[in-house]
């Protein structure tokens, strides 16, 4: 039972990574005679197992390419916000002082906005691109990493071996990297899993609202939004990518809970 999330995530990684090699899809190619065909129907390019959308584009291909988009954006955002958050958190927790105060107030200010709202405003202000989406998502995602690692640094700095290193005259940077940073690894991995789920959801939400990725990119959020106007006649356009998205998030959530139970520390924002 505990292995299920790993298996499901491996399938997503495989489909997202290798699927685009096998399935050809061009988001701007429309085929009018294949419009709104149900799952399993015969279309000009073969069998559309998950049906086609309002422009005759294959929904299965959109699900596969969307998996790649979600995983790439999720990973990029988690890596960026993890590096920034861990760096700021450990430095603030270890050195304390004005740096720590500035960090605490800065986080207070960012938390005054609902995370998705800040993301919408940042993403909407700039030209639609992958870089802008990753930046907008990272703008709030780093906070949890900073909070968790700050707490760990605060408690670890008082431990005997850190004090011993300080007395021996080990440079502060080395103390931080060799004696503090390793202790953040477990909780950071657990947190990264949960953040990945939140980021993938937020990206889909942005694209659903039409302020996320450019139209040339394939995103589950966009496909779901496109299908909304055909709900009465072609339910599969919105329903199926949503199932793919939900299944992914559920499994990451379970994995994240397992990891959190093992490593403790929760810094998840509401």
């Amino acid at each position: 039972m505990r292995r299920i999330p790993y298996v499901v995530l491996a399938i997503y990684a495989l489909v997202g990574g290798l699927g685009p090699l096998f399935i050809d899809y061009n988001p701007v190619r429309a085929s009018l005679e294949d419009r709104l065909r149900g799952p399993g129907s015969q279309v000009s390019t073969g069998i559309a197992w998950l049906g086609t959308d309002g422009l005759g584009r294959d929904v299965l291909a959109q699900v596969v390419y969307g998996a790649r988009t979600s995983v790439v954006i999720g990973l990029a955002t988690v890596v960026v916000s993890c590096v920034i958050g861990v760096a700021i958190g450990t430095v603030a927790g270890y050195f304390r002082g004005w740096l720590d105060t500035v960090l605490a107030r800065g986080i207070d200010i960012l938390l005054a906005f609902p995370a998705i709202l800040l993301t919408i405003v940042i993403a909407g202000a700039f030209e639609r691109s992958v870089l802008v989406v990753v930046t907008a998502l990272s703008a709030t995602a780093w906070i949890s990493f900073a909070r968790v690692t700050r707490g760990i640094a605060l408690s670890t700095r008082e431990r005997a071996w850190v004090q011993a290193a300080r007395v021996l005259g080990v440079p502060r940077i080395s103390i931080l990297v060799r004696h503090i940073l390793p202790f953040t690894a477990g909780p950071v991995v657990a947190l990264a899993t949960l953040e990945f789920a939140l980021v993938v959801l937020a990206e889909a939400g942005l694209s659903f609202l039409g302020i996320g990725l450019p139209n040339s990119a394939v995103s589950w959020g966009q496909t779901i939004a496109n299908g909304k106007q055909y709900l009465a006649t072609a339910w599969w356009i919105s329903a199926l990518p949503g199932i793919a998205l939900s299944l992914l998030i559920v499994n990451i959530g379970i994995l994240g809970d397992q990891l959190t139970a093992r490593y403790g520390q929760r810094g998840r924002r509401s």
């Binding site: 800065g106 005054a112 609902p114 959801l201 939400g205 609202l209 779901i224 949503g242 379970i254």
Partner: protein, 309 residues
């Protein structure tokens, strides 16, 4: 108590100043200049110069920032170029619809969440507990906008029981508020479950049972009451998250609240409205956090705000 409130309010003012500055920064860094947006691309050089001067955009950045801050202090965010009206009144007009949605959702989430949590927490490890736990994980993970669309598909299109979009009658409120409430219900249920399960092991529960109280009385009188405290906190602290959810849900159901206003304004680069709305929301979230802290300390005499919280 009074000193605590004053201190929190002062911190709040500091946070709001930071929030206003952050909004200023984002809007200034963003490409696309407001004059071209207001006049369109075929304006004459004279018109552009005139509007630039009248908006103060030719002055140094610091002086623009100071003017901006004094305007913010008077809640003046300029005119919405789309609506032609001052931005703040337009934003305030949308508040009741969003408040209606959020209040209904909170009520649903608290009532259903408490019931589910009590059901699961009173018999930890039972089949009911497992089912409730599985449901809460699912509800928390499903993307709200997709759940909303699926509800439209089922209840508006297939069964034709409820309207799919718009506002006005109580029937219009059902689908959006349920959609918004679902993940929140899961959070309340999980929290109540943990808290009730913990409380059931306490000695005073055993005492209550040995006094001969029925299981129902024990649950309602002793276990539930103690579990209410964390629920109050999570409801208060979750207003920000609920607000964020409302932004998306309002767009799914064309609900005429703050959320659909913001997304429209962001898409059309109507920065006056974007600034007014984000500032207002930051203020509301901050007030909710303050009130939650105060209510929390009143509910549980073990908590004192003067110390570290």
């Amino acid at each position: 108590m009074f000193r605590v409130i004053v201190k929190r309010l002062l911190t709040g003012v500091l946070v709001m100043w930071g929030a206003a500055s952050l909004i200023f920064l984002i809007v200034r860094v963003a490409p696309g200049d407001p004059v071209t947006i207001l006049l369109g691309t075929d304006a004459s050089a004279e018109q552009i110069a005139e509007l630039t001067a009248s908006l103060g955009l030719d002055r140094p950045l610091l002086s623009q920032y100071l003017t901006y801050l004094t305007d913010v202090a008077r809640l003046d965010f300029g005119r919405s170029y789309l609506l032609g009206q001052p931005a703040m009144p337009e934003v305030l007009e949308r508040v009741p619809a969003t408040a209606e949605l959020m209040l209904t959702s909170t009520a649903i989430a608290v009532v259903v969440g408490l019931a589910l949590g009590l059901l699961a927490g009173s018999r930890p490890g039972s089949i009911v507990d497992r089912i409730v736990s599985a449901c809460t994980i699912a509800l928390q993970s499903f993307p709200t906008f997709w759940v909303g669309i699926m509800l439209i598909l089922a209840f508006a299109l297939a069964f034709r029981m409820l309207p799919s979009a718009g506002a006005g009658t109580p029937a219009h409120l059902v689908l959006p508020s349920v959609t918004l409430a679902l993940p929140f219900t899961a959070i309340v249920a999980r929290l109540t479950r943990t808290s009730v399960a913990e409380t059931m092991g306490e000695p005073y529960i055993q005492t209550a049972r040995s006094k001969g109280l029925t299981e129902r009385q024990v649950l309602a009188g002793h276990a539930l009451r103690n579990s209410l405290i964390p629920v109050v906190t999570v409801v208060g602290l979750h207003m920000g998250g609920l607000m964020g959810g409302a932004v998306i849900v309002e767009n799914v159901f064309a609900w005429p609240g703050l959320g659909s206003l913001i997304v429209d304004a962001v898409s059309n680069r109507d920065y006056a409205v974007v600034q007014a709305a984000t500032f207002l929301i930051a203020g509301i979230v901050m007030l909710f956090n303050l009130v939650t802290d105060l209510v929390y300390s009143q509910l549980d005499p073990r908590i004192r705000l003067d110390g570290a919280v």
